[in-house]
C-alpha cells in the first residue's frame, strides 16, 4: 500500500487548489465545530477533526440553491440556469458521510427522475475520505452496516498512521487525483499499525440494532407508541438539517413577471408547513404524525423503496438535538413496545 506524508498531502491540496475548488473541514471561527469550506492552501484544511457539524450533503444539496433565474429583455424572457460543472475535490470526508451520498444517489436518480443539479455536482466532485481512528461514543456506523474505514462512495480513503496517511485509491477519479502526489511505499510496520487502528475503531457497541426493527415498523403505523415518543420533540429542524441522509426540500419562487428566480431550500418533515395543504388541512397535524414520518422514512419507507436504511450512524442528531431526543433510544422503545408482524 502507498503512503503520503502529512506535508505532502498539504502540498497536494496547495496544487489542486490552483486548478479546482477544494473543500476541507475548517474550524468555524469562534466556535468549537468544523464546517466544509473552500480552502486555497493545504494548511487551512483541518484533518484532525471529529466530524463536521453539517454533513457533506450540503455540498451536493445546498441549504439553499438557485434552480434558475429569469429576466425580461425586450419581448423575450431570458433564463439563466446555474452551472454545476465546477471541478471540485472534498478532503476529509468521513466514511459515514460518503456512504450517505450513495443513498442520496438513489433519491436523485431513479427510473422516474434524474436531478441535474445534484448529479452534476456528484459527477464533478472527487471525494477524499478520512478513516476514523477514534470514533465518538455517539457514533454507531457499524450498527447500520457501515464502518469507520468503510469505502462506499469514496474515491480515495486515507488511513492515519504516524507522520501521514496510508492511501487507498478506489476509483479512476481517485487514481487520477493522486497521480501527481508524492507517494511512497508503506512499510510493513505502518500497514500493521493501520490494521490495528482499524480493528480498534471498528469495535463499537451495537447501539442501534436493526434486527427486527423494520418488521415492527411494518405493522406500527397506528401504534400508541407514536404519541409517547415525540412528546418532548420541539418540532425544529436540527436533526433533519444536520442528517446526512435527510434530503427533503421545498421549492419557492421569488420575483415578479419581469424578473425573478426559483430556489430550492431544505425542508423538514418535522415542520407543520411541510404537509400543510392549500385548503388549510394538515394531514400531519401534530408531532406524533410528523415524528412518526421521520422514523418511518428512515427505517421503513427507504428500505421498501431503495433497499437500505436511511441512517448512517453519524450521531449528529444525538449530539445536537436541543432536548436530547436520541434516535437510539427511540428505536429501542419501538423494539421494546411493538410486537413484530
Amino acid at each position: 500500500m502507498k503512503k503520503i506524508k502529512g506535508e505532502d498531502l498539504t502540498a497536494l491540496i496547495d496544487r489542486l487548489a490552483s486548478t479546482r475548488t477544494v473543500y476541507a473541514p475548517v474550524l468555524e471561527p469562534g466556535e468549537a465545530y468544523y464546517a466544509y469550506r473552500p480552502v486555497t492552501a493545504g494548511r487551512e484544511a483541518a484533518l484532525d477533526f471529529g466530524n463536521t457539524r453539517v454533513s457533506v450533503k450540503q455540498l451536493f444539496l445546498p441549504r439553499s440553491e438557485r434552480l434558475f433565474s429569469y429576466r425580461t429583455e425586450g419581448e423575450n424572457k431570458v433564463f439563466d440556469v446555474p452551472s454545476t460543472t465546477e471541478r471540485r475535490v472534498v478532503f476529509g470526508v468521513r466514511p459515514c458521510d460518503a456512504r450517505s451520498l450513495t443513498m442520496l444517489d438513489g433519491v436523485f436518480q431513479n427510473d422516474r427522475y434524474a436531478d441535474p443539479y445534484y448529479l452534476g455536482r456528484r459527477k464533478n466532485t472527487v471525494l477524499v475520505g478520512l478513516g476514523c481512528a477514534a470514533p465518538s461514543a455517539t457514533c454507531f456506523c457499524t450498527s447500520l452496516g457501515g464502518g469507520p474505514f468503510d469505502t462506499a462512495g469514496l474515491d480515495v480513503l486515507l488511513t492515519p498512521v504516524p507522520g501521514g496517511y496510508l492511501v487507498e485509491t478506489l476509483t479512476d477519479a481517485g487514481k487520477a487525483l493522486m497521480e501527481d502526489a508524492s507517494l511512497t511505499d508503506a512499510t510493513a510496520e505502518e500497514e500493521a499499525q493501520a490494521a490495528g487502528t482499524k480493528a480498534e475503531a471498528t469495535r463499537q457497541a451495537d447501539t442501534l440494532p436493526l434486527d427486527g426493527l423494520k418488521e415492527r415498523l411494518d405493522v406500527a403505523f397506528d401504534h400508541p407508541v407514536w404519541a409517547q415518543i415525540p412528546e418532548k420533540c420541539l418540532g425544529c429542524g436540527v436533526c433533519t438539517f444536520l442528517c446526512p441522509t435527510c434530503h427533503c426540500f421545498d421549492v419557492c419562487d421569488a420575483g415578479n413577471s419581469e424578473a425573478g428566480s426559483r430556489e430550492r431550500i431544505w425542508d423538514s418533515c418535522l415542520f407543520p408547513l411541510y404537509t400543510l395543504h392549500a385548503s388549510g388541512h394538515n394531514p400531519r397535524p401534530t408531532a406524533k404524525e410528523r415524528y412518526r414520518q421521520r422514523v418511518m422514512h428512515k427505517f421503513k419507507y427507504f428500505v421498501d423503496r431503495l433497499g437500505c436504511t436511511a441512517c448512517v450512524g453519524c450521531g449528529r442528531c444525538v449530539v445536537n438535538c436541543p432536548v436530547n431526543l436520541d434516535i437510539r433510544e427511540v428505536t429501542k422503545t419501538i423494539r421494546d413496545q411493538i410486537t413484530g408482524g
Binding site: 468549537a32 439553499s64 418532548k232 425544529c236 429542524g237 436540527v238 436530547n324
Partner: protein, 316 residues
Amino acid sequence: MTEVAEKIRAKAAELLAGGTVELVLGYEKGTVPLRTTPCFVRDAADVGRLVWNGSCENNLAQFLIKRPGRAAVVAKGCDSRALVALMRENQIQRDQVFIIGVPCTGMIDRRKVEKILAGRELVEAAEEGGRLVLKGHGFTESVPLAEVVHETCATCRHPNPVVYDVLIGEEVPPKDAPRYTLVERLEAMTVAERDAFWAREMQKCIRCYACRQACPMCYCSECFVDCTRPAWIGKTDDPGDTLLFHAGRAYHLAGRCVECGACDRACPMGVNQFLLLRKINKDVEDMYGYSAGLRVEDTPALATFNPDDPQAFLTE
C-alpha cells in the same frame, strides 16, 4: 444536588399518588455527558427517573401551553418567569399548574465546555464542590463551574423562582455581574462594524428554527416566516432574509422575552441571536422600566400606555 433531586422525587410522588396532578414535568438523565432530557412522569412509581443537576438547561414552560389537565413542573428562576409571562398571555392557567420551584446556581454551557476540550471527546462529567470535572480518554481536568455556565446564568438577576407552589433547595443570591456588556460593545460599534458582525452571525444560521421552537414565548400558531400568502420574507440563504427572521422574532419578543436563553441553547450553529433580545430587553427596561415574567398582575410594556413613560424615542 442529589438532595434536591430526592426532594423533587418525593414531591412528584406525593402529587401523582394524591391525584393533585396527572403529570410531572422534570428532567431525567440524558444519553450523553452534560445532557438531561425533558421527563414526563405519570406514575408515582417512575419518579426515580427525575434528576437535578447543572445540565437541566431546557425551559419546560412551553410544554404546558394549552395542555389539558393539571400538571406539575420543575421550574428554575427563568422557567418560572416564562410561566408567569405565559399566564399573563392566557396560554397557561395558574390553577392548572403546580410549580415545583428550584433555585438555580447556573446551567452548564456545552459550547463553552467544547471549546475547553478543543476536539477531545468528553466521556464523563461530574460537578464536585463548585467545579466541573471533565474526563475523557487519557485526560481528567476540572474547571470552576462559574466559568462554564451560560452567559444568561452568569448574569442572572432572578435565579430563584418568582412564583411557585413549593420551593425545593436553598435560595441563591442574584448575580450582580453587568448584563449588558456585550450589548454595550455592540452599541459602540459603527454601523458598518455592526453590519459585518451580524452578517457573520447570519452566515452561520441554517434556518432550522430551533431558536423559535425552543422559545417558550414563540407560540404563534403561524409564524411570520411560514406565511406564504403573502410571503413576508424569503427563505433562502440571503443574509438579509436570515437577519430579518432573527430581527423579526426579536421584535415580536419585545417586552415578552424572559431572558432564559433557550434560543441560544438550542442553536446547533452558535448563532448569537440572544444578543438581539438582550438589546431589546435593555431598551424595554430603559424606556418602560419593565421586565417580562416577574408578576402575573403586571401589564406587559407594549400593552399599556402610561403618560409618564419616558417617550424621548417618539419625539426626538
